[in-house]
Symmetry: C2
Subunit: 449 residues, 2 copies
Amino acid sequence: MAKKIIVIGSGAAGMTAASAAREKDPAAEITVLTEDSDIAYSPCAIPWGIEGRSGWDEIVMHTPEFYAKNRRIDVITGTKAESVDDAAKTVAAGGKTYQYDSLVIATGGRVFVPPIPGADLENVFIVRTVRDGKRIQEALKGASKVVVGGAGVIGLELAVSLKGMGKDVTVIEMMDQVIPRIADGDMARHIQEHLEGMGIKFVMKAPVQSVDGTGKVSGVTAAGKSYPCDVMIFATGIRANLDIPKALGFDIGQLNTVVVSPTLQPYRRGRLVPDIYLAGDLVQCQSAVYPGATSSQLGSTAVKQGRVAGTNAAKGPEAQFGPVASPWVSVIGGLQIAGTGMSKSLASWYGIQAAEGKAEGLTRARYYPGGKKLMVKVLGDRSTHRIIGAQIVAGEEATGRIEWLTSAIVCGMTAEDFLVRAETAYCPPTSMVRDPIFDAVEDLCRNMQ
Amino acid sequence: MAKKIIVIGSGAAGMTAASAAREKDPAAEITVLTEDSDIAYSPCAIPWGIEGRSGWDEIVMHTPEFYAKNRRIDVITGTKAESVDDAAKTVAAGGKTYQYDSLVIATGGRVFVPPIPGADLENVFIVRTVRDGKRIQEALKGASKVVVGGAGVIGLELAVSLKGMGKDVTVIEMMDQVIPRIADGDMARHIQEHLEGMGIKFVMKAPVQSVDGTGKVSGVTAAGKSYPCDVMIFATGIRANLDIPKALGFDIGQLNTVVVSPTLQPYRRGRLVPDIYLAGDLVQCQSAVYPGATSSQLGSTAVKQGRVAGTNAAKGPEAQFGPVASPWVSVIGGLQIAGTGMSKSLASWYGIQAAEGKAEGLTRARYYPGGKKLMVKVLGDRSTHRIIGAQIVAGEEATGRIEWLTSAIVCGMTAEDFLVRAETAYCPPTSMVRDPIFDAVEDLCRNMQ
């Protein structure tokens, strides 16, 4: 009899899991249950969509009809999975009961909105779904002043998109730097200055206290000062959606995500739960940098986990998901910022004594036209000398370099070993003959002594 | 007393060694002896220089005056080091005898010109030095038809530059593919077709038999057919310049390069020679892919070795040069081709049974404008499942990806381990959420079973 596989959630993790399951088991009956109306879109694309750089139809990569026709996957939209009974192996959703042999839970996360007065006023938005994007686009038509709450990657990408649409943009952030937590202050400063140069205003060290207005937003109060606006958008981070795992009594880790095995199975009071796999923002990851837990709310991580969860849902627990360094990159106003592993502040939060090495150079040979500035920072653990993190700010070509450093981190290279064994590909139009990364690691070696 | 350090050779390896020695020993007397007149230039830049994309003065990064003034390095140009006496610790050059405490030999390689009739005719060139580049530029003024001998990376870059100058360009290659040896035929074909689309002509499987003409070149004969031309340029590869190592009786390996320790010291009849360090094209490298020797005639390798040799010349043998995967990249007519580790043909030459995995994708998210095609091939060793090589052809962003794969190769990752542990940085304008490299490695895993 055909295996029944149910996937809850239609984001990057869920749809990847469903597709992987189909690939591994051509005969399975695969059903996706989702409360969303648009599926399989990239939340990272919403800022580009709002600006009109990418069309909404392009961002939504595939429709339910596509999945039905091409992959024989039954996607049931607008249908929230209310509960799971893992003894009976059933999911209750939309008044029906669905039977499963394997279940993938990929319910993702929710945008965290601080519990402040006025957050429910008209023209106050979060930025997560295509529907959010379309609503924001509509509200922006009559707006001139926009406040973005939160200077994380999504907040900054959004600020640039809004500026590109001719709006007066103010970003309000409670920490003292942009991209807090994952980027160090010195690297983040380059991005903030670049954006200030584009006319985007920043209010730092200012927690949003209230959203003000009558019916409709007219301003935001932060750190005692008022900032008038026509539209307010919260980009204040994602919290894992733990409704189903908590109801099932799954073990929740100290980072408020679900503890899983390398095969992405949850535990209940320390015992592995069979036939259920998790993927995406609600999963606790193992760190590739230190022996312990971390979280990785990245699209790339969700897709990788989705592939493991879907494979295992189809074939039993044979595929594994490894420890993560969680490399990330963002193009913000033409400047790229990328990072991997731990930032210095995160390292100190984990009790790791980090040393740093820094260097500057160009993205091309000095004599080759069009080269852009490349700034590198590499972090090492003073006790093991292992490379534990890196950040790059550059006009181009940051992505591949951060993947290169990620590979070194994941393989446990020390800074000294990196200098002996790492290599770069050189061609005048794409690189310097000695990559600035080597200078940064050499600086790190000196600073660790 | 100040240490006397002599460096023979003023290319990337030699000048890097001299600069590293200065950095490590502020008091040393450092002298560079070179038969060349221009120093510290990038041979990889010559094709760009000929086309005028980079000025000759920009390509020559630093002058002897710069080194004298800023680094207190005495660069003696136009002075060939005739012999070394390592018992007396002297170098004979230009009628003088120079005493040393440590010596760096970085005499590089010479362009191999096949021993055929007519290779000494007027308007027949090699492409290695700035002087070669200037002469070619001069000769091209009255030329319309140009033949390039050799379809390696430099030959193809040159062909594109010549085409950009409006010349009628024919590339003649003895092998059946462009970029033989380091690229596989299926990947190389994309480059050849791209260049044919630009109007560059190719004559394959055709060893050049003679260069024809009276006084001046008028044509080239290859595989029995004649190809008229006004200028002929050989880009037929580099052979190590072994004059000094051979005269000193240093051990030469089976690849016709000098056998060295990880500290870049030569051997004489199996015994380490003290106080002499080698760097650049004449050095035999250890492979990161299989336990044995390889050669790595790359600028990036020369610079890395120069830094080790210079450090050791100043401080004694403390720095090491590791095994190489030799990543390379070239931008040829707007298309990028990059590789690392072994090609399939090279693997079979070393007795390694290679399996391959292939995939295609884009350099950006599907919905983000401007994305370019990305083709990946990954090679694995059937017996160990280790990744042993990779090649990428893409419209952009090949360099960093090949460095990422190089790091995986150098760390000895298996294909299966790569799927569990490798990670990508995702942002719609710079990458897909699942990089095509993962698909290629998955394909490789299937093909190794």
